[in-house]
């Protein structure tokens, strides 16, 4: 079957941090996860935008919690997309969230083989950049095999670097992964983290509360991992770190002028709950 943007839809969960996906592309959908402050529960982005979320986080007495979409949420979206012959459903690493499991149950419930599930083993722009990559393939016409191959190379020929202001949010939400080894990091240090095999992994630590050293480290690693060839795509995501976004963008373009910066987005309430304000990171993929 020849797949195009006309007969193939791409579903993401809201941890892709791509809220305007459907506005921009008619065959894209986002299924929201949930974030709760005490008894109050909100659908990520739909009922709680990032800015409101971080404002609320600052004044909240208890940490918010998050939960995955129900299978029914996915089923409703898949059914709404019944006009498409193929649905690619792209999700946050199954080691970080049970979202993929919900989507899988929905796909079974739906029956047939229209839905193809992809565990991106990533999060945020790591998911949405794959969606954009798939769209590019669909644009010129593609096949399941090509999309599977793209997803595989996305896991291999990509990189993700991020830093957080504190490991507290990752630790509280139980998403700290192997960064637990950074135990006891004090105020004047920033961890440089990635996601590998679907979980948070520390790469190094740099001195300073400010982001200068972290950005220098980003650059060093970005340059080492990419080439001057074309086809280099970057997505940037951050949590209330607008000033650092401009710096990171400039740094990326200075290091690799050919880079196409495809997405710059705010981390939504769900990812923000686990990363915390001040987080900044980027994802790259070299075709």
């Amino acid at each position: 079957m020849r797949l195009t943007n006309e007969n193939t839809a791409v579903v993401m969960d809201s941890t892709a941090d791509f809220p305007d996906a459907q506005e921009r592309f008619p065959n894209l959908r986002v299924v929201p996860l949930y974030v709760s402050f005490g008894a109050e529960t909100f659908r990520d982005y739909v009922e709680l935008d990032p800015h409101t979320f971080y404002a609320r986080l600052r004044s909240a007495s208890a940490t918010p919690t998050t939960s995955q979409p129900t299978p029914q949420d996915f089923l409703a979206t898949y059914e709404e997309l019944a006009g498409y012959e193929r649905i690619y459903s792209l999700h946050i690493s199954s080691r970080l969230s049970g979202t993929c499991g919900s989507a899988s149950l929905a796909a079974q419930e739906l029956g047939g083989d229209a839905v193809r599930l992809l565990d991106t083993e990533s999060v945020s722009v790591g998911i949405s950049m794959l969606a954009l990559g798939i769209r590019r393939l669909l644009e010129r016409g593609t096949s399941d095999a090509e999309i599977e191959a793209l997803a595989a190379s996305h896991r291999q020929r990509s990189g993700l670097l991020f830093t957080v202001d504190t490991l507290e949010f990752l630790a509280r939400g139980g998403r700290i992964g192997r960064a637990r080894a950074l135990a006891g990091s004090l105020l004047h240090v920033k961890p440089i983290l990635t996601i590998a095999d679907g979980e948070v992994v520390p790469l190094t630590r740099v001195r300073g509360r400010g982001r200068e050293k972290a950005l220098q480290e980003f650059r060093r690693r970005f340059e080492a991992a990419t080439t001057a060839a074309d086809g280099l795509h970057v997505g940037i995501a951050h949590a209330e770190a607008d000033d650092a976004v401009a710096q990171l963008r400039a740094l990326v373009l200075d290091a690799r002028p050919q880079t196409e910066i495809e997405l710059v987005t705010s981390l939504g309430a769900v990812v923000g709950t686990h990363a915390g304000p001040g987080t900044i990171g980027f994802f790259w993929f070299q075709d």
Partner: protein, 539 residues
């Protein structure tokens, strides 16, 4: 080879002391994190370890010929080396035990029973208001267990095994006895330390290697332990006063007005004082009126508590049983610096530096005790690099020495350390950090000299940047600032300042820095190193 040497009393005492020290070392951090009573200053494990270390060191240096002399030295070493509340109480436990053990005649179950009773009684005497659910109730229960008639015929080893069992029960009961422990969801830190000491002696008696820290730390401090209230007083103040016919009670009454957690122990010729107060100066003044003071240690408990909270928050479940890919042994002077290195993950820290270089054996021991496939050593002093390299050659596991020449350079290196990476990867990252850091010191000149064109007068401050003299003057601020100015060239953004044991006043320098270098990030930490009022690093 001939027949084995007869085991002398001294050698036996050394073995037992080392056994206790080893178990305390292995559990020190865990015990620190348990510490909520009397104040959550998070250093009970450290204090007990340092106290035990002082005893071991004294015994190592001792030439005592008979048991009475050994017991006497042990008692004195414990008193002089005691750190913190828990260390002081422990010194009294040893004193009570030492009085019994120093008597001539065989050491059997009966004698050990009397020693524990003596220890328990001495501990209760030392504390003005004994509280159940602490080290005190643990030592009392141990004494009671030793008095169990069924134990009368046991060998010392069998008796100690029974005592370990009872100690575990006594420790587990401490939260029932003391509300603050129950609320924090922890057992008593001092009691936990005491149990480790008994366990260490038991292991040494059995000729076993000291037990490792528990893999599943049963008494890991919970998140609730973070929220214990701070002590109302800021400074943990410890010192010894020596004189003639010292009146412990009179001094105790005077000191009681200055703070809490008061302990005054010793005899009429030497008293050890521990008090939490906002006026350490006033406490010292009271003592200087009576005799000469020494061994003064003043620690800011609020800093200790904050560091502990951070440690608990960010390290809820340290993988104690895990074998690391790469471990780090660091040689560091000063308690604050030690804590910094530990907070960055140093697996073993050896106290040492400028005038107290650790031996090759010390370093080798730390390397071997590090639960890691490969070990990196941060000597942090040019005079230690050689012994570190010697130790690396003798070690049974692969060791790489990172040539850090100062504490502050070592700190820049250990920031890059990740236990999950290979030694080679860590070494590369640390080497990079060492290449980028600029280091400086402010010290006090020990003689008149002309250094790099700077005229240096004995007793005045001397500032060095990357090993080169940059300024010397009796004006501390002037020297410190000259060093800072030199270090902050080349777009360096983070300035680390480790303050020495004398806690120099930095307000003016920091103000001036904020004016002249507003973009520079300052990290000022109480390092506690001797000889150097300031150690500085710019990155």
């Amino acid at each position: 080879m001939g027949s084995p040497m007869p085991v002398t009393e001294l050698a036996r005492a050394r073995e037992l002391a080392r056994g206790s020290l080893a178990t305390l070392e292995a559990n020190r951090r865990r015990i620190d994190d348990l510490n909520v009573y009397p104040v959550p200053d998070g250093d009970t494990g450290t204090n007990l370890t340092l106290t035990a270390r002082a005893i071991v060191e004294s015994l190592e240096a001792s030439t005592a010929a008979d048991r009475a002399a050994v017991a006497k030295e042990l008692t004195r070493a414990a008193l002089m080396g005691a750190r913190g509340n828990s260390g002081v109480i422990f010194s009294q436990i040893l004193r009570g035990a030492g009085e019994v053990l120093g008597e001539p005649g065989a050491i059997d179950a009966t004698r050990i029973r009397r020693a524990f009773r003596g220890a328990s009684d001495a501990a209760y005497r030392a504390v003005r208001r004994p509280v159940e659910g602490t080290m005190l109730s643990v030592i009392r229960e141990l004494a009671e267990e030793a008095e169990n008639p069924r134990h009368a015929a046991l060998s010392p080893l069998e008796l100690f095994r029974a005592l370990v069992g009872r100690g575990e029960i006594a420790l587990a009961r401490t939260p029932e006895q003391l509300a603050v422990l129950r609320e924090a969801g922890v057992v008593d830190a001092g009691g936990a330390g005491l149990l480790e000491i008994v366990r260490g002696i038991s292991a040494a008696l059995a000729g076993e290697r000291p037990p490792d820290a528990p893999a599943e730390a049963a008494h890991e401090a919970g998140i609730d332990a973070i929220h214990q209230e701070l002590s109302p007083f800021r400074y943990c103040t410890v010192f010894v006063v020596e004189g003639d016919e010292l009146d412990a009670e009179a001094l105790e009454e005077q000191l009681e007005r200055l703070g809490d957690s008061l302990l005054v122990v010793g005899d009429s010729s030497a008293l050890k004082i521990h008090v939490h107060t906002d006026e350490p100066g006033a406490a010292l003044a009271l003592a200087t009126a009576l005799g000469t003071i020494e061994g003064v240690e003043i620690a800011n408990m609020h800093t200790q508590t904050e560091q502990r909270s951070e440690r608990l928050l960010e390290a809820r479940a340290p993988d104690l049983g895990l074998i690391l890919e790469t471990g780090v042994v660091a040689i560091v002077p000063g308690a604050g610096n030690r804590r910094l290195f530990e907070s960055y993950g140093a697996t073993r820290v050896i106290e040492g530096g400028q005038t107290m270089n650790p031996s090759t054996e010390d370093i080798l021991g730390a390397i071997e005790a590090t639960p890691a496939t490969e070990v990196l050593v941060l000597p942090n002093n040019s005079n230690v690099i050689l012994s570190a390299e010697q130790a690396a050659k003798l070690a049974t596991k692969p060791v790489r020495v990172i040539p850090s020449r100062s504490v502050q350079a070592g700190l820049a290196a250990i920031v890059r350390y990740l236990p999950s990476l290979s030694a080679a990867e860590n070494e590369a990252a640390m080497a990079e950090a060492l290449a980028q850091v600029a280091t400086g010191e402010v010290t006090i000149a020990s003689r008149d000299v002309e250094l790099d064109g700077v005229a240096v007068r004995k007793g005045s401050y001397l500032g060095l940047a990357d090993g080169e003299a940059v300024a010397s003057s009796p004006d501390f601020d002037e020297v410190a600032f000259a060093v800072v100015e030199r270090l902050l060239g080349n777009g360096r953004e983070v300035l680390t300042i480790l303050t020495g044991a004398d806690e120099p006043e930095l307000a003016r320098i920091l103000d001036r820095l904020e004016q002249s270098h507003p973009q520079v990030e300052l990290d000022v930490q109480p390092g506690g190193q001797p000889h150097y009022p300031l150690l500085l690093a710019a990155e």
